[in-house]
């Protein structure tokens, strides 16, 4: 029987062809490889996003938009000042606010419950109230009823509160309470970190005119200042001494506070207790008039009110 013979091998073998890739198996498993790498990438992304989720985002504090830029706060104490005088104060504030697009907030003693503390504490609550009523304001400026705006051309947010300007203005490494307090203002404070600007007269810190930047710190500061534990303590000058106390004992407050020259926002009409007003200054205050007698403020302020009215009329 014949079987078909297998074909003969050619005696000229085809030339040796080197294989296309070094690892022939790779081509088939390439898809697997890609899938694996993709999976690993997905896992990595999952891990990263998961860990990001577990990080709690910082509380997004409300950023004030600056509308109005400044709220002028004044406590009108009818027991200390005559009605006519308070009317001139109110008129002065409203004129100034209208000129620069500010808002005003007038509070009376008794508007807020103080649980029997001295009426002067209304200052602090009124400032806190301004933060609530104008959550978008940039600054709250408390100006006591014993003061008048004398130079309507100056805007307080530019004249005082600009960080670059504050860098020049603030007094560094200076005893907080004048003669020789061992607590001194911070020497490395930057203008942009300042949340509170106030002044010093010859006796100590003055709470008659201070500017607060709206924010969480301002709320913390005012609420701490207003703490019942300080109100129930018999500070000789109530809120002013409480302020001096918290500033000296609590560095989180001191580290955000700048003391500026008195004439910037708190010039006095007489140079006995502090720096004296000179023409062109923003503010004049009559620190002693309310203590003297009922009409003293009116008479003391007479000439300044006239000058102020002229200034507003001409600007």
């Amino acid at each position: 029987m014949h079987f078909a013979l297998p074909p003969r091998k050619t005696s000229q073998p085809p030339p040796y062809i080197p294989r296309a890739s070094r690892l022939p198996g790779l081509r088939r498993t390439r898809f697997k490889l890609i899938a694996l790498v993709g999976l690993a990438l997905l896992a990595l992304i999952y891990v990263i996003t998961r860990s990001n989720n577990s990080q709690h985002a910082a509380p997004n504090t409300h950023a004030p938009r600056g509308n109005p830029p400044v709220v002028l706060v004044t406590v009108l104490d009818a027991a200390k000042y005559s009605k006519a005088y308070l009317e001139t104060v109110r008129e002065n504030r409203i004129n100034y606010a209208e000129k620069h697009g500010y808002q005003t907030l007038f509070a009376k003693i008794g508007d807020y419950s103080l649980n029997g503390s001295p009426g002067s504490w209304t200052t602090v609550v009124a400032a806190r109230d301004a933060l609530t009523k104008y959550p978008d304001c940039r600054y709250v400026w408390y100006l006591d009823a014993s003061g008048f705006v004398m130079n309507p051309a100056l805007k307080v947010e530019e004249h005082v509160m600009q960080p670059a300007r504050l860098d020049e203005l603030m007094k560094k490494d200076m005893p907080v309470v004048p003669p020789d307090s061992i607590i001194k203002t911070f020497s490395h404070l930057k203008g942009q970190d300042v949340e509170l600007v106030l002044t010093q007269d010859k006796e100590g810190l003055s709470a008659g005119s201070f500017i607060l930047r709206n924010g969480e710190w301002a709320r913390f500061f005012l609420e701490t200042w207003f703490a019942p534990i300080y109100r129930s303590y018999n500070f000789q000058k109530a809120e002013v001494h409480a302020l001096e106390h918290i500033v000296q004992w609590h560095p989180t407050i001191l580290s955000r506070m700048a003391i500026v020259d008195q004439r910037l926002i708190n010039a006095y009409n007489k140079g006995v207790r502090g720096e004296e007003y000179k023409d062109g200054d923003l503010i004049v205050r009559f620190p002693d008039c309310a203590a003297a007698d009922a009409q003293a403020c009116e008479t003391e302020s007479q000439s300044f009110v006239q000058a102020s009215r002229r200034a507003f009329a001409s600007s």
Partner: protein
């Protein structure tokens, strides 16, 4: 032939100095047995056919082993007997010759020779063994848990107030030392397991402050120090010494912080032993301050604590790094408050915090409470006036996280409580093998023989 016995034959006859001819090296044959006669040697050399004049009775290069011995033996694995095994000149010699093959190639070779079934079996085995190794034995898991962006363990610092009563008071006895040892070990183990930081602080009474009345308010200062010391950490957990972590398998993240918003209650009216009127209603406050829950988001929580039967309890509480916390730690201690209240405030910083919480909206907005038994269960001896309270007291069925033996130093047995809870914690957290031995094998043995055994 007398000449054939001569010790030093020279091919050409006659005598010469030894060692100066062709075969002088081989002149004293080492082949054992019969002495080699000059004649036979001469014959062999002549008839060897090599004709090159080499001696043919050499012991070297004889047979397969002789010829390949060196190559074979140097390819065998060798155990280094020399203490300096990394001697420079020997490096790379005497290793497996197969080492010179690329690893990949060898593995591929093995894989190619392996059956498909075998491969799958091996793969399954690997898939079982690898996780066991990774999750139970490798240090990898520790670093994973510790790293801030994976496990996040570095974000948590446990501050343990140790050495209570040490220092100048010095009333620490053997039991106090034992308590301290147990409590410390418990925290250390927990921290090692989850990759947290542990800061042990010295609460001993010292003359530290110029105004001595500040003594025992150190919690605040230690927290501030820790905030500086661990700049990467986010949450700081204060623990008193008389605490015991009953369930070390709970991580803080899973137990509390992954879902902080759900775990806490911010409206204190939910449980209000102090009868604090909440929320504030003063009209001069903004909506957030008047809201019972602040802004309601987990991101605004900066202080997490729990309340026991008589109000706030600071035996176990958390603070988060934030400006708010700096402020709180700053105003917590105030000389004016101290002067007015130090006679009333038996619990010092605890009462001061209550006072702050009651009076100040900015504190309330960022404070949250955890149900007490999540972080601060009491043993039945504490808060015992009204019997057991499901809100306050530890129950092993619920596997509470932590026990705080609060107030045990006043008339209770601190060490006894600590010991019991330690044993209970070990018992509750036995491994499956221990359970098998104790609950199954020992039980069977007991049924069979009536004897209790301990494996």
């Amino acid at each position: 032939m007398s000449l054939s016995r001569s010790p030093s034959p020279v091919p050409g006859g006659g005598w010469a100095s030894p060692g100066l001819n062709l075969s002088s090296g081989q002149s004293s044959p080492r082949l054992s047995g019969t002495p080699v006669m000059w004649g036979s040697a001469r014959q062999k050399r002549g008839g060897g056919g090599g004709g090159a004049g080499y001696p043919s009775f050499s012991t070297r290069n004889q047979g397969f082993f002789g010829r390949h011995m060196r190559r074979l033996s140097s390819s065998l694995p060798r155990f280094s007997t020399s203490p300096h095994y990394a001697e420079k000149e020997k490096l790379g010699r005497g290793r497996w010759s197969v080492h010179h093959l690329p690893l990949l190639g060898r593995i591929r070779g093995i894989m190619a020779r392996m059956g498909r079934k075998m491969k799958i079996r091996l793969l399954i085995l690997l898939m079982i063994l690898l996780p066991i190794y990774v999750f139970y034995h490798s240090p990898l898991v520790f670093y994973w848990r510790r790293s801030p962006w994976l496990g996040g363990g570095k974000k948590f610092v446990i501050i343990l107030g140790a050495n209570v009563g040490g220092g100048v008071m010095d009333w620490k006895g053997a039991r106090e030392w034992a308590i301290e040892r147990d409590s410390l070990r418990n925290k250390k183990k927990y921290v090692a397991r989850w990759g947290y930081e542990l800061e042990i602080v010295d609460m001993s009474t010292k003359k530290r402050y110029a105004h001595e009345w500040r003594e025992s308010w150190e919690k605040v200062d230690f927290l501030r120090t820790a905030l500086r010391k661990y700049p990467e950490a986010e949450w700081f957990w204060w623990l008193d010494l008389n605490t015991f972590i009953m369930e070390p398998t709970y991580s803080l993240q899973a137990h509390i912080f992954d879902d902080l918003e759900k775990n806490v209650y911010r409206d204190i009216n939910e449980y209000n032993p102090l009868n604090i009127s909440h929320p504030f209603t003063d009209p001069y406050l903004d909506a957030e301050s008047q809201s019972p829950i602040g802004d309601g988001k987990a991101g605004s929580i900066n202080l997490v604590l729990s309340q026991d039967c008589s109000g706030f309890n600071l035996g176990s509480f958390f603070v988060r790094r934030s400006e708010w916390t700096d402020r709180l730690l700053d105003v917590w201690w105030d000389p004016v408050a101290y002067e007015q209240k130090h006679m009333e405030w038996a619990h010092k910083e605890q009462d001061a915090l209550e006072q702050l919480y009651i009076a100040q909206p900015w504190i309330r907005k960022h404070t949250a409470f955890l149900p007490q038994r999540m972080i601060n269960s009491f043993p039945s001896g504490a808060c015992a006036e009204h019997g057991n309270d499901a809100r306050i007291h530890y129950h092993e069925k619920d596997r509470d996280f932590l026990v705080n033996m609060a107030g045990c130093e006043w008339g209770r047995d601190c060490w006894g409580e600590m010991y019991n809870f330690r044993e209970l914690s070990y018992y509750l957290n036995r491994s499956w093998w221990e359970r098998f031995k104790e609950d199954f094998l020992a039980l069977i043995w007991f049924k069979l023989t009536g004897q209790r055994v301990k494996f």
